[in-house]
Symmetry: C2
Subunit: 248 residues, 2 copies
DNA sequence: CGCCATGTTGATTTCTATCAAATTGAGTGG
DNA sequence: CCACTCAATTTGATAGAAATCAACATGGCG
């Protein structure tokens, strides 16, 4: 499978290593979660030829706001933060992309946000224009993308409620519960440990808070015996508390 | 055109009067702005048969969060607020729909927000399931809907930045400038008066503020000679101020 | 072992929310 | 036409949640 992985254009080596072309789709661990679930066996082999597995190391950027969108990506492992920045340095993280999430749904030639690897990330890459041509010829794939887009839109609306109307405590409760649900979905079964690969600053920028408020609120929850803090994450002690304080 | 407008099922008379079926699309004043711009002449006559013009009076609901989505709508005039509510009464307005905007992009059978007429509203109504069948058979219409959805998504991300990271002053400056742009688009030419059909409470719920803060901030801008307050709206006195303080 | 990034904790400030009255103004009926 | 009403808005005083400013602790890693 790695027959090409040692022949990589120089400019990609730093943060992004090219892996083997194709023949992976049929074994893809995130197909059930991703856009590709809409694609049948015959189309899949065609998609394989279009795709290339890529790796981004922690803290590297998949792309930046100002970049032209040459490629689109299907995340297969790891966590990516989606960031909008203001000229004075203020940041808003609009979401975290995980296994199964697609970056480039709009098929626009320009990104309107940056994507940065929170952990080491693997993603299936397609040339944007080629993928667009393919989806133009496959109405059910376009429909699946549209379903993904409108689902994202619904999540975005949830997040507007959170940002505009919830307290710091409610924001954290909602965030942790949502993260638990997403890990459960990715893992395919209930999980006990809620991994928190993103730092406090990322959580703050996602919730519209400061790092200090995030830290204080989580530690208050700990003192109140709502959760325990473990290496790399947290564990719910009082799940009902989170259900009661979270948005939906 | 109003051949049916006096024969209306009782339950619709209160807030929503049924108007004539079809034969309006070709003269539609918002076609250039709407989904329907993707539809050719032949398809248009078919769409006409599917559509019905509806009227909603000020303060009435087009639909509520908990309703099943029987219909989808293309707004042709007036302003609609899109609302998410929390059990305790807190509200977040996620957007305002105006001429050319489509409600029901997701084609889901359930709404995830309420739509309420801020002014008297006219909208072109389609049966959801019929519209879905139609769009399933018209890939370029589906693509247009997808473009609308991803554009909305981008606006939603803008709004997250506003809610999470802007000050009250910046929120208002952004809102007023954005409103100016939208009226300009709807009217088809530059406008001087920025109409504010929505009340202070709606503005507050859109910007994640209280009514008092909205009032104080606008009046401060007035005292600072940034704008003048006129009946039904405002007028910029210092446009550069708004450009400088608004998000993008 | 010590360095530096990351996270925690404490003191204080500030912005916006909240609470509480006025004021305005559109609509109504005498 | 004018007084009256009620909702919407403005204005003022105060409170409070989160931000800011400032150390200090932790812990992974060369």
């Amino acid at each position: 499978m790695d027959r090409n992985s040692d022949i990589v254009p120089f400019h990609e080596t730093a943060s992004c290593a090219h892996h083997a072309k194709g023949d992976e789709c049929r074994f893809c661990n995130v197909r059930r979660l991703s856009i590709c679930a809409a694609v049948d066996a015959e189309e899949l082999s065609f998609l394989e030829d279009l795709s290339g597995d890529t790796v981004f190391e922690e803290k590297s950027a998949l792309f930046r706001e100002e970049d032209e969108a040459i490629s689109v990506y299907n995340v297969t492992s790891g966590v990516v933060r989606l960031v909008r920045s203001l000229p004075d340095g203020r940041r808003q993280i609009t979401g975290f992309a995980m296994a199964g999430d697609f970056l480039g749904l709009s098929l626009n030639t320009s990104w309107s946000f940056s994507a940065e690897a929170v952990t080491d990330v693997r993603a299936c890459r397609f040339k944007r224009s080629t993928f667009e041509d393919f989806s133009d010829r496959k109405p059910h794939l376009m429909k699946r993308m549209h379903e993904f887009a409108t689902h994202e839109l619904s999540l975005a609306q949830d997040h507007m409620v959170l940002l505009g109307r919830l307290t710091a405590e409610e924001k954290l409760a909602t965030f942790l519960l949502e993260l638990k649900r997403r890990w459960t979905r990715v893992e395919g079964h209930e999980i006990g440990l809620i991994k928190l690969p993103m730092g406090r600053q990322d959580i703050a920028d996602y919730l519209g808070l400061t790092i200090e408020t995030v830290s204080r609120t989580i530690n208050q929850m700990h003192r109140d015996r709502r959760l325990v803090i473990v290496p790399d994450g947290i564990r719910f002690v009082d799940p009902a508390y989170f259900e009661a304080h979270a948005l939906r």
